[in-house]
């Protein structure tokens, strides 16, 4: 009886293999890949950093160039602090993404991919929550600077800064959640 079961099981597995052979044969007869698909594929740029990383670095560089040009009326310590802060942010973003090397990520084994995603998530989490109090302090300082160095009513300036800060936080939060959710989805799929 046990022998019969083993034979049946073996047959079942052989059926699976023969079905797989059928699939392979069928696919070999298909063209599947055309010139257009190949051209479109090879058009995609190879980057060590993903789009969000480049956005963060772009914003930081923009701020570094923009601050001295348009906010020269603000105090020198504030401008220097802002530039240093943005520079550190750009470098940190670059490091966080580069160390994970997203270009090579998909060529790793599945467990390594999950581990690297965990590392990316952890680093991104740490850098975001370290920067948050600094950003809040910077916003307050910026508000004080604006109020003291412009003739406009302080309520208006404080309101404008607060509005900008809320929008900035919202965008940053969305970006943060997107990266974390992407990482979580991959980790969960592999470790399921």
């Amino acid at each position: 009886m046990e022998n019969e079961n083993t034979i049946t099981e073996q047959q079942e597995l052989e059926t699976l293999r023969s079905q797989m052979d059928l699939l392979r044969k069928k696919l070999e007869q298909e063209t599947i890949v055309n010139e257009k698909l190949m051209r479109e594929t090879m058009k995609s740029r190879v980057s060590t950093i993903n789009r969000q990383g480049w956005i963060s670095i772009g914003v930081a560089i923009f701020m570094i160039l923009w601050m001295p040009l348009y906010f020269y009326t603000l105090s020198t310590p504030f401008i220097i602090t802002t530039i240093v802060f943005m520079l550190v942010d750009a470098i940190l973003t670059y490091i966080v993404h580069k160390q994970v090397n997203e270009r090579q990520l998909m060529s790793e084994d599945m467990r390594t991919v999950a581990n690297k995603m965990k590392t990316l998530k952890k680093r991104y989490h740490i850098s975001t929550w370290t920067e948050l109090p600094l950003v809040i302090a910077w916003c307050v300082w910026f508000c004080i600077e604006i109020i003291h160095r412009t003739d406009a009513p302080w309520q208006l300036m404080a309101g404008a800064v607060a509005f900008g800060a809320i929008i900035g936080f919202f965008i940053a939060w969305k970006m943060y959640r997107k990266v974390i959710d992407n990482c979580d989805a991959i980790i969960q799929q592999i470790e399921e």
Partner: protein, 160 residues
């Protein structure tokens, strides 16, 4: 066309069945297969420069295809132009005997979780336990334990 691009194109054409098989087994319809296939090609292209042939090209293709299919965000719309694949048949709808047999295989494999799906596909492709272990990133012993469980699951499905 540059030499690298020609090499890449040849590799893709040689391994099109492997790539398509993975995409098919991880998709719910033809449209998703198209999206996944394009995504796999992009990831292969991105990693092609770093691929030094340290591991067999076959293992590399399997790794990229499986990782892409497992991590692909199906809720997100694929970026870039959508190019249909050159397929005369449709494995999801064709009614000939072979297609029906293939769909029986698809229906069973599709019930497994994603990692088990990957392992059984590698086994069905006759890869050795060592190769499967290297692609999945687990020990050879773990592969054999998992395969026993997966095979039992597949057999149970056929009796259900």
């Amino acid at each position: 066309m540059k030499q690298t691009e020609q090499e890449f194109e040849q590799i893709v054409k040689r391994h099109k069945s492997t790539i398509y098989t993975v995409c098919y087994m991880f998709s719910k319809d033809e449209d998703e297969v198209n999206d996944l296939f394009q995504e796999v090609l992009i990831n292969l292209w991105k990693g092609f420069g770093d691929f030094r042939g340290d591991s067999a090209i076959n293992s590399w293709i399997w790794k990229v295809a499986l990782n892409t299919c497992i991590s692909f965000d199906r809720k997100k719309k694929r970026q870039g132009e959508k190019i249909p694949l050159e397929m005369a048949g449709n494995l999801f709808t064709d009614e000939d005997d072979d297609s029906q047999q293939i769909r029986m295989l698809y229906d069973r494999i599709n019930q497994l979780n994603l990692v088990d799906r990957a392992i059984v596909l590698l086994w069905l492709e006759n890869l050795s336990y060592d190769e499967i272990a290297a692609i999945v990133g687990i020990s050879v012993k773990n592969v054999s334990v998992k395969l026993v469980r997966i095979k039992q699951q597949l057999i149970k499905m056929s009796h259900a």
